[in-house]
């Protein structure tokens, strides 16, 4: 079939290229579910974000100067994990621009900017394992109270969130219809509750806001 040395070498080179090229494509595709939509953000390129003035306009905690007491402090080993693999890389979360929010019963929360996002960082050590969970939201979502985290299951659930300027407290509703009020300080709230949570409600100058916030063992969100 291949009569000359040159023909044999060309065939070998082409075969090698096809083999590795096909292998690369096959493995790359094997991780992609055809039903999924790939995230738009690159996990390795986001640069630390500056505070977006349009976001800061609604959250006073981002308008005050950063002080020494605002430093984000996680438990041993967690900071490296956090920096290397989470929102710092994915969304440009700028920990150096974090402001410490309300602290209750040893729980710590911070508010920090990311690229076109506002983030809530939390360490909630009341849990058996302190989970430094983070959530980042767009301005629209943050104004709806969606910058919140619900950690744990009954009888030890911690709920923390960011609310816009002008909100003094939030009402946390539970699966049995009862509720509790948590104060807001520096645009943040933190509460430890015993019952599965269902929703969070607060009043803003623009009107009341209510959103589902069930704990993992709480009532399902419909729709």
């Amino acid at each position: 079939m291949f009569k000359t040395t040159i023909q044999r070498r060309i065939a070998l080179i082409a075969g090698c290229a096809i083999f590795f090229g096909a292998g690369a494509i096959a493995i790359a595709d094997s991780t992609d579910n055809p039903l999924s939509t790939k995230p738009a953000l690159d996990a390795s390129t986001a640069a630390p974000a500056a505070i977006d003035p349009s976001i800061a306009a609604h959250f006073g905690i981002l308008r005050r100067a950063v002080g020494a007491s605002d430093a984000v402090e996680f438990g041993p080993g967690m900071r490296d994990n956090f920096d290397a693999q989470s929102a710092v890389r994915n969304w440009g979360l700028n920990v150096a621009e974090a402001r410490r929010g309300q602290a209750t019963n040893g729980s710590q929360v911070w508010v920090a900017p990311a690229t076109n996002l506002i983030c809530l960082l939390s360490e909630l050590p009341d849990q058996a394992v302190a989970v430094p969970a983070t959530t980042c939201q767009t301005l629209t979502s943050a104004l709806q109270g969606k910058a919140l985290l619900v950690v744990g299951s009954a009888p030890k659930i911690q709920i923390a969130g960011i609310v816009p300027d002008g909100v003094d407290s939030v009402t946390i509703s539970f699966d049995d219809g009862s509720s509790a009020v948590a104060p807001v300080q520096d645009n943040t709230y933190v509460a430890t509750v015993a019952r599965p949570t269902a929703s969070v409600k607060f009043d803003t100058p623009a009107g009341p806001v209510e959103l589902a916030a069930p704990s993992a063992d709480g009532p399902a969100v419909k729709g």
């Binding site: 590795f20 939509t37 959530t135 910058a147 704990s215 993992a216 399902a220």
Partner: protein
């Protein structure tokens, strides 16, 4: 003499081309071992992220160090991420479950090889949702 020249050129080009092919190949391997996408096949219920690097490739040494859920640009889904002690998602929570609207991270503090991660959307609609999970080890 001419034949000898051809042989030397071949000796250079063959490893060079294979090297280029390998350079293209290696990032695909790194991607497959470091991150993965998931998507529910239908609305409702839980999504179990087993210790797999890719379909059919059971992972025994990696661990889920981070659950990173990300809604698309149109919807913000409420998601609860849970870590279970068994690959089929059974058993009590290993870590406290974390619930949040899209764009949430839950770094885990230590290795959980062979454990399952459960992403529960609490019955919310799934259309358009995609997820993204990292694992390292």
């Amino acid at each position: 003499m001419a034949v000898s020249t051809v042989r030397r050129r071949g000796a250079i080009w063959l490893p060079l081309l294979c090297g280029v092919a390998l350079a293209l190949f290696m990032p695909a391997i790194a991607k497959a071992s470091g991150q993965g996408y998931f998507c529910p096949s239908s609305g409702g219920g839980d999504i179990f992220l087993h210790g797999y690097g890719q379909p059919g490739d059971r992972c025994t040494q990696w661990y889920y160090s981070l659950i990173h859920t990300q809604a698309n640009n149109l919807y913000s889904y409420y998601t609860c991420a849970d870590v279970k002690p068994n690959a089929d998602g059974s058993g009590g929570d290993v870590f406290p479950a974390v619930c949040a609207y899209g764009y949430a991270d839950m770094p885990l503090p230590y290795a959980v090889a062979d454990y399952a991660t459960v992403i529960n959307h609490q019955g919310a609609g799934h259309s358009g949702f995609s997820g993204f999970a990292y694992w390292t080890g």
